[in-house]
Symmetry: C2
Subunit: 238 residues, 2 copies
DNA sequence: CAACCCTTGTTGACACTGTCAAGATAGGCT
DNA sequence: AGCCTATCTTGACAGTGTCAACAAGGGTTG
């Protein structure tokens, strides 16, 4: 009930992500001006900074505003509510994560299986290097309005950002199947297994994972590699 | 870091003499009696009820107190702060989850591999039937004071509750290895893979999982079964 | 039995949060 | 010029977690 305010006070123009095709100057951020010029983007980056420092739960609209140097209500002209800020920050983080996966993919010389392993390790590394952001992008309260589902209908922006990651993996799996090194079958299922394994492991590393760190596997990335080899052995064409 | 309130007010009686001439209005609530008798347990169950109804974020100390029929500050005599209530509720939920895993295990006739599959499906089922509780028990902000690590030192109560689940799985894996149906190797690693897969899948089902539900796999439990068979094929002794 | 004290409950208060309402300002439009 | 609208401001309010002080009652001790 606490977040049931459909009354949008946001001007329609600012709903379009990243005001494209504007003739405004938006040169240097211009600190002392009444109209900020690029506040929305700055709020998002401020939010990410705060999440990094104090965790997703430590994020406060008023803190974000303060960090951006505006009054505590200025954000409401760019985001409907706190959830919308979280959502925008999440999308930014998801994109960063997908980018790092993609870069890793392009740097990997081996076959599709090697690529799957490398991307998995990269995913875990991202989680370890940006734990707060990793937790942020997995928050269930992010809007995912279960709306357009089957037919590529308009999904939520968060959903769209995630689908980029899925696409990267799907392509790798399909490529592996075409090359004959990954056995046939629903690629969706393989991606799903990859995703669950990697994601579950990253979560575990961030949450309750003292035991592995203490006994024999000093580096979670090594464990991640082993786990992924496990998976890869299962889908390899024999 | 964010929740560092070492100032415990719990057992410290507020021994202040002060004005003895006041007469307070007699117990407004509390079902008649001033001293509840079993408030702590009732607070925990009230908290779980609220989490079920409004999600972990919807839980409020004042709501918990109201649901239990006491004043908004009564919980502070049983829990240090809100986090402690969450923690107690989590432990209760984790125990419930472990119990259902154990029951499922005892009802399974097959070998260790079958048991691992059945427990995995059961885990996903628990997540689907109690999504709020499932999310609750995975909250990273639950106390896990990274303290006693290697030598079975006193860990957090939450950690202890989780370790029961791990023990169930470890036993199954070891049994399978003794029976020769699970290949040799670090059982820890196998449990880890099982855990990551099942946990990641359950998370995915609860969060962003419209696609599978719409295309070809109507029931997530079927997908879970397929995934677990995948895993089991990887660890089977050949 | 009375005196006492500790645990458990109560009310009151405070700072902080998300959000609404209404006023102020600036840049672009007619 | 004068106005329009998006943007930013101050002000207010209900909820929240938590601290402080006070009250009731059961148990312990004389």
């Amino acid at each position: 009930m606490s977040r049931s305010t459909p009354k949008s006070r946001i001007p329609v123009s600012s709903r379009n992500a990243a005001g494209a095709g504007r003739t405004a100057k938006l040169g240097p951020a211009a600190a002392g001006r009444y109209h900020h010029g690029n506040l929305r983007a700055e709020l998002v980056s401020a939010a990410i900074k705060i999440v990094d420092r104090r965790g997703p739960d430590g994020l406060t609209i008023r803190l974000v505003a303060e960090q951006a140097g505006v009054s505590h209500n200025a954000p409401y002209h760019h985001f409907r509510d706190k959830g919308a800020i979280l959502e925008a920050a999440s999308i930014s983080c998801i994109n960063a994560m997908v980018d790092s996966l993609r870069r890793r993919l392009h740097r990997t010389r081996g076959n599709a299986l090697d690529q799957l392993i490398c991307m998995g390790v990269e995913f875990v590394r991202f989680a370890m290097e940006h734990p707060a952001e990793f937790r942020l992008i997995h928050r269930p309260e992010l809007r995912n309005p279960r709306g357009g589902c089957c037919g590529d209908a308009p999904t939520s922006p968060v959903e769209a950002a995630w689908s980029n990651a899925r696409q990267l993996l799907m392509e790798a799996v399909r490529r592996g199947q075409q090359d004959g090194i990954i056995r046939c079958g629903d690629p969706d299922m393989i991606v799903l297994a990859w995703w669950c394994l990697v994601n579950g492991f990253a979560n575990k590393v961030l949450n309750f994972f003292d035991d592995k760190r203490c006994t024999n596997a000093p580096d979670p990335l090594v464990s991640a590699h082993a786990l992924l080899e496990h998976l890869v052995n299962g889908i390899r064409n024999k």
